[in-house]
């Protein structure tokens, strides 16, 4: 089995409007290889007005994610993103961006079975006796879905492919809360 590196990226926005972004790269067992986070950012009132509804997406994807992914020394083979706003960056990087989630439904008959939902989304049964995993890629990168499916299946035999995202979220919350106190 090839030793894949998996990346996880997320942004946290605190109650005090402090944004912190973070990127974690793990090996195929979920052991951290590298974790980078941005400096806390507090948009001013003027910036909130000027950006309006685009502020969230601009900070998350265009600014923070770009800064983090450029600085990562351990380049991942697959990047797991929390939502589709990050898909705009897929053209700039040479690894697939994928959205993963648990599907609350009956398991598929056996591990390896999959159900196509659309050209860029499918359900994959990774292990027996548990819910399938939802795999979603950018519509423009739909042809990569097959190779992504293979990677997720291999990774799912040695790690919980969704669990590291919760670690990133907890770490960012701690960073944002600490910066708010100081």
């Amino acid at each position: 089995m090839p030793e894949y590196k998996v990346g996880y990226i997320d942004t946290y926005r605190s109650d005090r409007n402090v944004f912190v972004g973070g990127a974690l790269v793990t090996d195929c067992y979920g052991i951290p290889l590298e974790f980078r986070h941005t400096d806390p950012v507090s948009p001013t009132k003027m910036e909130q007005i000027l950006y309006g509804k685009a502020l969230d997406r601009y900070l998350k994807a265009d600014t923070m994610a770009n800064a983090l992914l450029k600085e990562l020394s351990a380049k991942p083979d697959l990047l797991v993103v929390p939502d589709e706003s990050y898909f705009t960056l897929t053209r700039s990087y040479h690894y697939p961006f994928v959205q993963l989630g648990v599907v609350r439904r009956e398991p598929l008959p056996k591990p390896g079975d999959f159900q196509e939902v659309s050209e860029n989304e499918m359900f994959l049964q990774v292990l027996s006796h548990r819910e399938p995993v939802r795999i979603r890629v950018d519509r423009k990168n739909a042809p990569t879905l097959v190779s992504v499916k293979g990677m997720v299946f291999e990774l799912g035999r040695t790690m919980d492919v969704i669990e590291p995202m919760s670690r990133v979220a907890d770490a960012l919350k701690t960073l944002a809360d600490d910066s708010g106190r100081s």
Partner: protein, 212 residues
């Protein structure tokens, strides 16, 4: 006296169907009085004379208005003066600097200390014969009866050979553990772990299951 319903007495005769209405003499007198009251009395009439109409003569007539000639003099021509216009000064523009155009990033080792979590499998998708087999194995391994074992949860996938510390939180249903770095030459095996609690001494027991 307000009109009201005439009181009647109702008697029920045995042997006859329904009821019979009986009116007394006092009822008939009361009825005649009520009928008399209902008839309206004639309204009173009175004739009153109207006020006398008189012709009013106006003694005061309109007064004559006197007219006077007012002399209008020619208006003086308005004075025109030239306004000196100063050339417009160049307007100074300010560039608004966004604070997040360039965001710095830092490396952090905080993830190395964070434990990895596994949530319990949803047992509704686990066939009962397999669950029964797991409980039997736990009971046999700990030399207790089948009913003495309570299944806590099943977790996967776990690289058991890499675990350095492990903790089960049976209340939240989570298994937390830390892993040591794997040896590149050796590929660790991943397993499914089942945890149970012995009813005899409240001890937590575990067994290792194959992944599929």
């Amino acid at each position: 006296m307000s009109p009201r319903s005439i009181p009647t007495k109702e008697f029920k005769f045995t042997g006859l169907p329904g009821t019979v209405r009986v009116e007394t003499m006092a009822d008939r007198e009361l009825e005649s009085k009520l009928v008399a009251l209902e008839q309206p009395e004639p309204a009173a009439r009175e004739v009153k004379p109207f006020l006398v109409v008189r012709v009013v003569e106006s003694k005061i007539g309109p007064e004559k208005v006197t007219a006077r000639n007012v002399k209008i003099s020619k208006m003086a021509a308005p004075k025109v003066s030239r306004l000196k216009l100063e050339p417009l000064k160049s307007v100074k523009g300010h560039l608004f600097k966004f604070s997040f155009r360039e965001i710095g990033t830092s490396f952090s080792g905080m993830m190395d200390k964070k434990s990895i979590t596994r949530e319990m499998l949803d047992l509704k998708y686990y066939p009962y014969p397999l669950l029964s087999e797991i409980i039997s194995e736990m009971a046999e391994k700990n030399q207790v009866g089948f009913s003495q074992v309570k299944l806590v949860g099943i977790f996967d996938p776990i690289p058991s050979e890499l675990i350095s510390s492990i903790k089960l939180d049976s209340y939240s249903g989570k298994l937390k553990f830390t892993l040591s770095r794997p040896d590149r030459k050796k590929k660790p095996r991943c397993v499914r772990m089942a945890y149970g609690r012995l009813r005899t001494d409240d001890r937590i027991v575990q067994i290792v299951l194959p992944l599929n």
